[in-house]
Amino acid sequence: MPLIELDGLEKTFTVRRKTGLLRRERREVRAVDGISFTVDRGEMVGYIGPNGAGKSTTVKMLTGILTPSGGRLRVAGIDPARERTRLARRVGVVFGQRTTLWWDLPLRDSYRLTHRMYRIPDDRYEENLARCVELLDLGDLLDVPVRQLSLGQRMRGDIAAALLHDPEVLYLDEPTIGLDVVSKARVRGFLRELNAERGTTVLLTTHDLTDIEQLCSRVMVIDHGRLVYDGGLAGLHEAGDGERMLVVDLARELPPITDVPGARFVRADGPRQHLAFPASASAAPLVAAVAEAYPLVDLSVREPDIESVIAKMYGGAAGELTGGPGSP
């Protein structure tokens, strides 16, 4: 049985816009427009899309913050909007741009409140806290007021806070936004371990595609409130009509290889030539054909850049894709 089930989920907002001095225009915006998917226990799923695609809205419906306008939604068998507080004990949420920690108090105090609010048994709490402190390197930070923490430190603190009550599902909304390379690596490592050892289901919303590449075996792409792709990371390349690149090193500088079927010459750097071919095609016959006709020394196959693949999928929304924080 799947842990998360969405069936034709919809969310419409009525937006009022001033069009004149007293005139107002009412407009219906479909932020989520009929999304259906299921997520099984222990899956790690990337949920991506351009700004305003409906990612955060979906996560907010999954946690019960927002009430769906239509469709069916179950998380661990619970209808989130109806039984929000009951579900809250079983899910953990990290909003990258919003902290759940107490601004003026030491990190430790926020955790203590979580301990009591969620009624976590003492031994579980101690154990979970010790583990988070170790793996997220929070040891020196526990007694520092949250307002004095850096963004990366606070994010790690927030992730720990979301995991103290042993959630079955963890929703991460932009968990690595604004973090430096070291902090990102630490957070990713922690999540990978959590998923592998604990079996925690993770749904990750991000603009950073490296997060997805390193963590998720399954990706869902959403655009204009609709699911446009749901499948493995590898399949994304084909779905996005991507091309792979065959890089061949020849014995000497030669004119461009244009006579090999199924390949398209891209560019040459001295004896090295770049040939593009469809992501869905096999590289083997191509390599054989090149090796037969040319003095081949070395070769490598490069997977297409996931970012460009997804940019293609969005249809020109690439600028936003790598952009800053999400906005309505």
Binding site: M1, K60, I65, R84, R86, A88, W102
Partner: protein
């Protein structure tokens, strides 16, 4: 739902026998969570369905926890806290001086004696002060809705109303309660011979303060519910709460009859202190209200709570959050 009734069984993690840490080395072990999605709750404590009693108990517990955190937060800035406390004390004190000065000059108001007006002032002041101390933060929820930080409250497994009410809990608001209580006690001392005391009148005094506080709280919750649709509605609520408090400090005879009728029949603020207080003082009820209405405050308070509770639930469901 049937699953709510199910008794949780066994250890929720299914990690038994894996050594002291469930994170042990054996990653190939059993899945930490069973595959049954209706499975037992973590910690074997199903919070249960939304029974009003459970919600109330959980709410009070939450309120205590959150309020305690805010008191600690305030203490993080000691100098600022001391300064606020001092300012607050001064304001309350001068407020009190103003009342003294006023009653030093005026002997009666609208046919009411000095002690009688003090009785009205003290009873509504205490009731409103108590409501403001506990629920005053609700009017600031508009900002939390606008900047989206209400989302964080909604993620916690405890009642939202208690969290919002305890948000930014400020102990300094206790001053208002104490001030009202002082005036009330003082007026009672003055009135001890003027009033023909009986058992129901003696009981009516604490009763009206408690019911009055509950009515004010309900109005505050009702006003806060409106914030889910109109984030700038808090001024409207203030007109009824702060404005109502000011109104009720004076005898109804001072005001136009239409206004008095509105306070009785439209916004039931007259039940906070006017109607019971007039009964205690042995005066006729205003605006042609029957005299038994003096005993109505508990029922009015209950109805107000029910309406406010319904409005709150509807509001939470209509919450729109922010864009990101």
């Amino acid at each position: 739902m049937a699953e709510r009734l199910r008794t949780p069984v066994g250890e929720p993690y299914g990690t038994g026998g894996r050594g002291p840490s469930p994170y042990g080395t054996g990653s190939g072990g059993p899945a930490p969570y069973g595959t049954d999605i209706d499975g037992p709750f973590p910690y074997g404590a199903d919070p249960g369905g939304p029974s009003p009693y459970r919600t109330a108990v959980e709410g009070l517990r939450t309120y205590r926890m959150v309020a305690a955190m805010w008191i600690r937060s305030t203490m993080a800035y000691r100098a600022s806290f001391a300064l606020t406390l001092f300012t607050s004390f001064c304001v309350t004190f001068f407020d009190f001086v103003v009342i003294l000065l006023m009653f030093g000059q005026v002997r009666g108001l609208g046919g009411f004696s000095f002690a009688e007006v003090a009785f009205l002032y003290g009873s509504t002041g205490t009731a409103f002060g108590a409501a403001d101390l506990t629920m005053g933060s609700l009017q600031r929820m508009g900002r939390r809705i606008r900047d989206g930080s209400l989302d964080v409250f909604l993620l916690r497994p405890v009642p939202l109303l208690a969290q919002v009410a305890a948000d930014k809990f400020a102990l300094r608001r206790l001053g208002r309660v104490l001030q009202g209580l002082m005036v009330l006690v003082w007026s009672l001392v003055l009135l001890r011979d003027e009033v023909a005391w009986s058992w129901e009148k003696v009981l009516m005094v604490p009763g009206m303060v408690v019911c009055g506080a509950v009515i004010f709280m309900a109005v505050m919750v009702l006003g806060a519910s409106a914030l889910f649709w109109l984030q700038d509605a808090s001024e409207v609520t203030n007109a009824f709460t702060y404005g109502g408090n000011t109104l009720l400090q004076y005898p109804p005879a001072v005001f136009a009859q239409d206004l008095v009728k509105g306070v009785v029949y439209v916004v039931p603020l007259a039940f906070v202190n006017w109607l019971p207080a007039l009964y205690v003082l042995g005066r006729p009820a205003p605006a042609g209200v029957p005299s038994w209405a003096a005993f109505a405050p508990p029922f009015v308070a209950l109805v107000c709570c029910a309406v406010a509770g319904l409005a709150w639930r509807t509001g939470v469901r209509a919450y729109r959050s922010t864009g990101s």
